[in-house]
């Protein structure tokens, strides 16, 4: 019996040990396997699998899904007016859901220290009480081209396509402000939108920027509800937004709910600190710059994009290559566009069209011939009405990587 017990015990122990091992090793796997779906916060997954870009073409290059940031490949920006489904998306927070938006009851509040009286308009009232205008206005993200800066700057690593030009329809901001009554101490407007801060904190604004009164009161500065004759896409601010052509697109608030007329430079989210600011004086690459030495970006610099052909074209020797694209220059007009096939040693003029209206991008084209077979790059360079040209190298380094207007180039093989 004494023998028997240890035997069975040994057997029992052996079994237990196996079970224990199985438990220690197996259970977590099994548990992991059967863990109910939906238990993990959605944010833990990268989310590449759900439709984060409603209303946009799948060719858009998604830089970030939370918040949604997506740019357009240059060759898809070939239209004079960027189609709705190809217009870049730069979100700082989470946009309102489509079913949270009622365009019929949507209201915009006007307030601030420099307004005679606070006033609210429904979108319908704005449409009914003020004259409508349509302008082709270029919007470019202040950080477009950030990817090329060295040392690298943090944030979305935009390539070339955070830019577009659409026909925007709305009412002039100045008509509305003049109707309400501005005080003489008005300095800046600041917008507030319905998007939510990434943290979900309702007391935080993801972004609340604006422009000085001089820009706010320009004829082309719109409270806009339509893009290319149709409702705004949700990701571009449906049902109503601001549009200030030629300035960093972050000035043009989306899902517009409130405009404050300030008696000082607006101090909302991403107006202060280092956001959308560059060093007031040039600095060496990699420098630390104090907040007080950073100045707000206003008009964007001269720039151009070759939208045809797509980079990587192989053509037969002896053929002329047609190229075309757009050029824009912030508040200014583009005076000239040139191209080079020898890395800037020589430049040839492109044909350049005047803008459809002030602040619209302009179309250029040329017919390029190549002296012999081989690898070429076609570089484009725009020059603005003040004689400022695009640099071939990166422009002055800045801590946040804004305003890269270096020449665009495409690769061509002649065989």
């Amino acid at each position: 019996m004494q023998n028997k017990i240890p035997l069975s015990r040994r057997h029992f122990l052996r079994q237990t040990t196996l079970t224990t091992m199985g438990f220690a090793l197996g259970a977590p796997i099994v548990f992991g396997h059967f863990m109910p779906k939906g238990l993990t916060p959605v944010a833990l997954s990268n989310g590449a699998s759900f439709d984060s870009l409603p209303g946009k073409r799948p060719e858009m290059i998604v830089l970030n899904e939370r918040p949604v940031n997506a740019e357009t490949p240059p060759h898809l920006l070939n239209d004079v007016l960027t189609p709705k489904d190809l217009f870049f998306v730069r979100n700082n927070g989470l946009p309102p859901r489509r079913d949270e938006i009622n365009a019929d009851t949507w209201t915009i509040r006007f307030d601030g220290e420099a307004l005679r009286t606070e006033k609210s308009f429904t979108l319908a009232e704005l449409k009914a009480q003020f004259k409508h205008y349509t302008y082709q206005l270029t919007l470019e993200c202040g950080g477009n081209g950030r990817k090329e800066f060295n040392p690298p700057a943090k944030g979305n690593q935009w390539g070339l396509g955070a830019v577009g030009c659409a026909a925007w329809t709305g009412v002039r901001l100045k008509d509305v402000l003049n109707a309400i009554g501005l005080k003489s101490n008005a300095v800046y407007i600041g917008y507030y939108g319905k998007d939510m801060h990434l943290s979900g904190d309702p007391d935080k604004n993801p972004i609340s920027r604006g422009v000085p009164m001089s820009k706010a009161l320009e004829e082309e500065s719109l409270i806009a509800w339509a893009m290319n004759g149709e409702d705004l896409p949700l990701l571009n601010g449906y049902p109503v937004r601001l549009v200030f052509g030629g300035w960093p697109a972050s000035c043009s608030g989306k899902w517009l709910e409130r405009i404050s007329i300030r008696n000082k430079v607006h101090d909302g989210a991403k107006m202060v600190g280092q956001s959308y600011r560059v060093p007031c004086k040039p600095v060496a690459p990699g420098s630390k710059v104090e907040d007080k030495d950073m100045c707000i970006i206003e008009s964007m610099p001269v720039k151009s994009l070759i939208t045809y052909p797509k980079s990587g074209a192989q053509i037969k020797a002896g053929k002329q290559l047609p190229i075309n694209g757009h050029a824009w220059a912030g508040d200014l007009e583009v005076a000239k566009v040139e191209y080079s096939i020898d890395f800037g040693a020589t430049w040839q003029a492109c044909q350049l069209k005047p803008p459809a209206n002030r602040l619209a991008w302009q179309q250029f084209n040329a017919s390029v011939s190549f002296p012999q077979k081989g690898y070429y790059e076609v570089w484009a360079k725009a020059i603005d009405s003040n004689g400022q040209a695009q640099p071939m190298l990166l422009p002055g380094w800045n801590p946040k990587g804004y305003l890269n207007n270096a020449c665009h180039r495409i690769a061509i093989k002649v065989a």
Partner: protein, 175 residues
């Protein structure tokens, strides 16, 4: 005597039974102890694996209006050292980064950026000061080690050449 003998037998049997009972109790205790020891011994070398198994698996939310159906098998796959679902390098510190960073923003905001340890440290501080990032405690150092190691800046001069690997060459027929 037989009676006594009988009593003795009974006593012996009771004694044996008591002995067996206490032996059983003793062995049960040893059994539990062994299970514990084996468990601990197994846990120590396999700690990171087990933690990995226990850590939440990424689950993808399917939105009703979405036409794209994700391939569920891909979600925790690691290929060439990259965690496919997030695109993050699969290396020590991965879990800390996934668990803390992707709560607010997608992993793409990490993978597309490059910075020194100091640069990443400043980003974490900025997120804590302005974006509601929580105190990371000892995880901060692990996260910074990971980011500084796998997402460090590369020297590229004043302007990089066109990335020829990226170019998709195509035939363009011209008139």
């Amino acid at each position: 005597m037989p009676n006594h003998q009988h009593m003795d037998e009974q006593q012996k049997e009771a004694y044996d039974k008591a002995l067996r009972d206490s032996f059983r109790v003793l062995m049960s205790a040893i059994k539990l102890l062994l299970i514990l020891v084996v468990g601990i011994l197994l846990y120590i070398p396999l700690k990171s694996d087990i933690q990995q198994w226990l850590s939440p698996k990424p689950v993808v939310k399917t939105v009703s209006n979405s036409g794209v159906q994700p391939n569920e098998e891909d979600f925790d796959k690691v290929e060439n050292g990259v965690h496919l679902a997030t695109g993050l390098k699969f290396a020590p510190g991965f879990e800390d980064v996934r668990a803390n960073c992707t709560v607010c923003h997608s992993a793409a905001l990490v993978t597309q950026n490059r910075a020194t340890r100091e640069g990443w440290d400043q980003m974490l501080t900025w997120m804590q000061e302005t974006q509601g990032l929580w105190d990371l405690g000892p995880k901060r150092a692990r996260i910074l080690d990971y980011l500084a190691e796998y997402y460090a800046p590369e020297a590229q001069g004043r302007r990089a050449s066109l990335d020829l690997q990226e170019i998709e060459w195509y035939i363009l027929d011209l008139e």
